[in-house]
């Protein structure tokens, strides 16, 4: 039994495996299948200031070893979260991460203020949403826009602040460095990659919004590269994700520099994938005579 415990932003994670935002609801559905308190943490469904109904039309599409989604941030809104869903999450003995999105800087700021007084352990700032003031280009594409956003949020944020990078950023190392400089306590990546699917019989894009986000094993080699680049570019800790489906995958991300990791699409492939991954992490460390997972974090 190797030591899987990790300190991350001052919180104790009993293991480095966190359920990824948007793939795990607020934990309750998966808690019907296994005790989600066994996880290192849970990142909530992406929250916005006001509740959202999400996108119309097809929301899911399978691709070779990948999944495209266009949920459109359907969520109950920050206020409902604080009065209701957070209590569900808090009953599981694990870290609660609030994933926060927004279309304007004000959305973020008001949302963070509300969350400041809540019981969330960490705020994960999702900067992949389209920035309505900048003409729909996401906050997470250009490093200077991200810098301004994170800096403003940082000034009022009293929770540990983890910024979630988009793989669609112009330059991952520059983006990572900009967020660190703006005061992020940690980075998480990757969010989904912009992608497209066409229904050739209907002669139209499968998704109403044309493009949708790609996740799953298909993107793993790209995600791993980006996590490695980020970890090299900053001193703050990194939370790695993108296609992680096994203990081997998780170890790759950890060796590439991730202190903790998130598991998204794999939850769909097999509902208790996170438990398998924790077990496989442990077995790998034991088989290699590694007593503490921190020994291999970022060794590449």
């Amino acid at each position: 039994m190797a030591n899987l415990k990790v300190d991350f932003l001052g919180k104790v994670f009993k293991n480095p495996v966190v359920a990824a935002s948007g793939t795990f609801g607020f934990g309750e559905e998966y808690n019907d299948i296994y005790d989600v308190g066994l996880l290192g943490g849970i990142s909530s469904k992406g929250l916005t200031l006001k509740s959202k109904q999400g996108n119309e039309g097809i929301r899911l599409w399978e691709t070779p070893m990948g999944l495209m989604n266009s949920i459109g941030l359907q969520n109950p809104g920050v206020e409902s979260f604080i009065s209701r869903e957070i209590n569900i999450m808090k009953q599981y003995k694990t870290n609660v991460i609030a994933n926060l999105g927004g279309n304007t800087l004000d959305d973020y700021l008001i949302g963070v203020k509300l969350l400041n007084d809540s019981e969330v352990d960490i705020i994960e700032l999702n900067i992949s949403c389209p920035n309505v003031k900048e003409g729909g280009m996401a906050f997470g594409i250009k490093a200077d826009i991200a810098y301004n956003t994170v800096k403003a949020v940082r000034e009022i944020c009293r929770k540990p602040l983890m910024v979630k990078l988009s793989p669609n950023a112009e330059s991952i190392p520059e983006m990572a460095a900009a967020c660190e400089e703006a005061g992020a306590d940690a980075l998480s990546l990757i969010n989904t990659i912009n992608a497209m699917a066409i229904d050739i019989y209907a002669r139209k894009s499968v998704f109403n919004n044309y493009y949708a986000g790609l996740s799953g094993p298909a993107v793993k080699p790209i995600a791993l590269r980006m996590v490695h680049q980020s970890a090299k570019a900053v001193k703050i800790p990194v939370c790695g994700m993108g296609g992680i489906s096994s203990g081997v995958d998780a170890i790759e991300f950890i060796m590439a520099g991730a202190s903790i990791i998130q598991v998204g699409t794999a939850n769909f492939v097999k509902a208790d994938s996170c438990l398998d991954i924790i077990k496989e992490l442990d077995e790998f460390l034991d088989s290699q005579g590694i007593r503490d997972i921190k020994e291999i974090t970022g060794i590449i």
Binding site: D32, L60, M65, L67, I71, T265, D272
Partner: protein, 243 residues
Amino acid sequence: MMKNDMSKIIENKHICDNIFELVVLSDIVPLPGQFYMIKGLNGDYLLPRPISVHNYQDGKLRLLYRVSGHGTDQISRMKVNDNIQVLGPLGNGFDIALLNGKIAIVGGGIGIAPLLYLMKNIESKKPDVYLGFKDETFCLEGFGPNRNELIVVTEDGNTGHKGYVTDFINVKDYDIVITCGPEIMMEKIIRACLEKNVEVYASMEKRMACGVGACLGCVINTKNGNKRVCKDGPVFNGTDLTV
């Protein structure tokens, strides 16, 4: 409670055309209308496929499925004793206690899959059963004519009546209509029932990822906002639906 398990395949039988029946062992007694997320272990596809309980008896779970794409094709190639991933039972299922009075069950094509187990559960209520098929019929025996009224319709008139099943039912004759099948068939039935003030329940289909209510990928618009087919459904009361 739901089960997330590797199950050994007891049977995986070709029924006709592209219809197969998969049998696995399962401890949990499902409700009629519930479903399972099924996935072979070595397939080159990612997501499990939602399949309804077709029948359940003595710990044997029977799933009737149509090979309609890559995933179901892979499932159909699996052999007895192979391990298969089975998550379920999932979804709300039919609330049997609500099903009283004169009942019609209307199924179309592979949509008959969940209706056999439903019928077994409400046999004492003597429902009439209407089944529509394109050409070849399958699994009629279970609905057997000694048990209740069975009206079979095929588009080509090959077996039973010729035409569409929707043309052979008069929903006014019933207190409750239950339907599962192609979208267009269900829409017609639901509209007719709503017009005539007949209670109607439909089992809906949507692409799924998690199957448990977490990803919000399978929502439909209802009169009470977005509902998840996998968790809030798949069975919906017609009055909630926006057809």
